[in-house]
């Protein structure tokens, strides 16, 4: 288990401002989502989730077919499809197009994929200027930080943080007022939009039968990115495909609601290539870059393929009690929250951060809100198994495995189990008067560091059961029932006096 992962968790939990910020923001998302998927508002919400799950399943189970359909449709309309096996080949492709066309400035719409492959770094290394245009991403670019949340990248930044940042990096007069800061960002970015030769976007959905990409937003930067520059490159993971435009009637009803509690975001763009004869504005050239980067490996796994259904709404993060306490930067890899916890080990290997699949109480809140019904807790359990196999030779795993082998042996031998019970009564401290144990040694100190631990009962259930049988059914029943029924308040506490006296 990585010390730094545990350390990061500890740091996050100790940062009270951060705690308040994430808690408040995610609470807003939770309530807004709840309002718009309520049965009175969207009566067919559960049905839509099932349809979305089935559409994703069908598409991914036949992905080669749909990718080829997509390619032919894009090419039909004069666009080009670039297939990229990994991040490096993707960044190389983008850089080469920019160089070929003599492009210096590339405006970018928010794209988790571009984070994943380190596109900005690659562009900068090659003398190009990538400009993030989503306000949250723009802030992060100025600050040199990674996104904090799939949908709200600058969730962790206060208005004071942003005010300070803009004053320093943009040379503007210090203000902490969001509308003023936003107006400055608009001014600065509008100039970039008008200068840029290339617009790079991601894609929320890629429609195979239309050869089109679909993008949702509230700000308008995606529309500008994909309308003003003469070259538009859309980068998308191969898993983003859906079969038909008509399937958007299902997916668009789920995405906005799950992400930000909006039936539709302010803008939804359905882009099918470069501008056509007759149309005035729009890109002259359209490229669709399809990225593998480990997705085909996940695709091949029957059980974990569903990880690829994700439409990046962020709803899982918003409800996750762990995410809501540690925030996005604690997670290794580009993706955070519950989806990050199952995606990152599959991209980077179970040994990459072995503790990650265990940093969950398996409460299932994520699965409950996932619009495409990914069974995240199940995926976590499978990844836990894989992690133990991958780390089998490491000492901590070997010790733990030995512990469970002993446990298993005990649990298959009821008499041994009972003996162990007697032993624990002898060994563990037995506080008087129904108190619980305040302190335990070794790994169990992690428990008693935060709460009391129950001492073993004076008589186990099986002892009580045997006693009642020995005493004969009638009189023992009365005795046992009497214990419970006498209404003595002390009797009713879990682990009360009569358990331990």
């Amino acid at each position: 288990m990585s010390a730094s992962f545990h350390e990061k968790i500890h740091v996050a939990l100790s940062d009270l401002t951060l705690q308040k910020t994430i808690r408040t923001s995610t609470q807003r998302f939770i309530e807004k989502r709840r309002d718009v998927v309520a049965p009175e508002v969207l009566p067919d919400y559960q049905e839509l989730r099932t349809h979305a799950n089935q559409l994703k399943q069908h598409t991914l189970e036949n992905l080669d077919y749909y990718l080829e359909r997509l390619e032919s449709k894009v090419q039909e309309r004069g666009g080009k499809v670039l297939w990229c096996a990994d991040g490096e080949s993707a960044t190389r492709a983008v850089v080469s197009i920019a160089k070929e066309k003599g492009i210096k400035i590339a405006v970018k719409a928010k794209s988790m994929l571009s984070e994943e492959i380190g596109l900005n770094e690659a562009l900068e290394k090659n003398g190009l200027e990538p400009v993030e245009t989503d306000l949250g991403e723009f802030i992060l670019q100025l600050a040199g930080e990674r996104p904090y949340h799939i949908v709200a990248p600058a969730l962790h930044k206060s208005r004071h943080d942003v005010g300070e940042l803009f004053a320093e990096k943009l040379g503007m007069e210090r203000s902490d007022d969001p509308p003023v800061l936003t107006a400055e960002a608009r001014r600065v970015l509008r100039a970039k939009f008008l200068q840029a030769g290339m617009g790079i976007s991601g894609a929320n959905f890629v429609v195979a039968e239309s050869g089109a990409v679909v993008l949702v937003e509230n700000e308008g930067n995606i529309r500008l990115t994909t309308s003003l520059p003469r070259v538009h490159i859309a980068i998308a993971g191969i898993e983003k495909l859906i079969p038909r435009a008509t399937d958007l009637a299902v997916f668009l009803k789920l995405l906005g609601r799950s992400a930000t509690g909006q039936p539709l975001t302010s803008y939804t763009s359905f882009l099918a290539g470069a501008r056509r004869p007759g149309e005035i504005s729009g890109p002259e050239e359209f490229y669709l870059l399809l990225l593998d980067n480990g997705r085909t490996r996940i695709l091949a796994d029957d059980e974990k393929r569903q990880t690829l259904y994700c439409i990046r709404c962020g709803a899982c993060s918003n409800v996750c009690p762990v995410y809501r306490r540690v925030g996005g930067h604690t997670y290794p890899g580009a993706y955070s929250g519950p989806i990050g916890a199952i995606l990152t080990p599959q991209f980077h290997g179970a040994g990459h951060e072995p503790a990650l699949p265990f940093a969950s109480s398996l409460c299932g809140a994520c699965a409950e809100v996932c619009p495409v019904k990914i069974d995240i807790p199940r995926m976590l359990l499978t990844l836990r198994q894989e992690t133990k196999k991958v780390t089998a030779r490491e000492l901590p795993t070997r010790v733990e495995k030995l512990g469970f082998r002993i446990w298993s042996w005990v649990m298959r031998n009821p008499r041994l189990f009972e003996q162990l019970g007697f032993l624990s009564k002898a060994v563990l401290p037995a506080p008087s008067d129904g108190q619980w144990i305040k302190s335990l040694p070794g790994p169990l100190s992690e428990w008693t560091g935060h709460r009391d631990f129950p001492p073993p009962a004076q008589q186990s259930f099986r002892e009580l059961w045997r006693a009642r049988r020995r005493a004969g059914a009638n009189s023992a029943n009365a005795a046992v029932r009497g214990n419970v029924a006498d209404g003595n308040r002390n009797e009713r506490r879990i682990g009360s006096r009569t358990d331990h006296a």
């Binding site: 992690t387 649990m411 560091g449 631990f453 009962a457 009580l464 029932r481 419970v484 029924a485 009797e491």
Partner: protein
């Protein structure tokens, strides 16, 4: 009724909270069920399964199957154990068709306690009396895997003298999560803080749950803070008179 019910009390109840088992047995007997306690029982295997050690979990699950294979009904005072048996045994036995068949055959006969009362015994009023304000904690496995939300509330609704208050937020994890509570103690403790805040917000004197693991976590936290709020299993409330 003459129907027979096998108790699977769970390892936690057997060793730490036997009164829960006693209470559950009492309620069922009062309803006319013949109950048996198969002494060979130990554990459902969940701790190993959740920790990623499937072969160790499998061995224990096989033992469970042997003990309960021919039971008419198995009633469990734990949502997480019932989930393990009904939803995850089949995963463990994918390479063992005999055991897989046995676990699939057993699953429909395994019930969490409140489920059993409401759906099988069809008794929502078990004649209990408990004076005071009570808040109910939804255990995650029971809630989300077994869809147990109404049943305990309906049962509590019929308890004379009991005032049920809902906590806000409701349905949030108490932070137990099995070995999570020890591997990520600080995080687990922080989640527990949130749960205790919600409980205190109701002003109730008692918090009730259907899962001994949640009760262990919550009670541990309440006691550490010296708070005078009682923790009870649903069975204990229903057995009160």
């Amino acid at each position: 009724m003459g129907l027979s019910v096998s108790l699977f009390v769970t390892c936690l109840v057997d060793q730490l909270f036997p009164k829960v088992g006693v209470a559950m047995a009492g309620v069922l007997e009062r309803l006319g069920y013949r109950i048996d306690f198969r002494e060979a029982q130990t554990c459902c295997g969940q701790p190993a399964f959740n920790s990623g050690f499937t072969s160790e979990a499998r061995d224990v699950a096989l033992h469970f199957l042997k003990v309960f294979e021919d039971a008419e009904y198995v009633v469990v005072p734990s949502g997480s154990c019932a989930t393990m048996i009904r939803h995850h045994f089949a995963d463990l036995f994918r390479k063992d068709p005999g055991a897989e068949a046995a676990s699939r055959a057993l699953a429909p006969r395994v019930f969490e306690f409140s489920e059993f009362l409401v759906e099988v015994a069809k008794q929502e009023d078990v004649g209990a009396r408990f004076d005071g304000a009570v808040t109910y904690h939804d255990s995650c496995h029971a809630l989300r895997e077994l869809k147990i939300k109404d049943q305990p509330r309906r049962l509590l609704g019929h308890v004379r003298g009991l005032e049920l208050r809902e906590m806000q937020p409701v349905e949030e994890c108490c932070g137990f999560g099995g070995t999570f509570s020890v591997k990520f103690g600080e995080l687990s403790g922080d989640m527990l803080d949130g749960k205790i805040e919600a409980i205190r917000g109701t002003g109730a004197g008692t918090v009730v749950s259907i899962d001994p693991s949640c009760l262990m976590q919550i009670s541990g936290g309440l006691r550490r803070r010296g708070l005078p709020i009682e923790t009870m299993h649903l069975a204990e409330v229903l057995a009160a008179r």
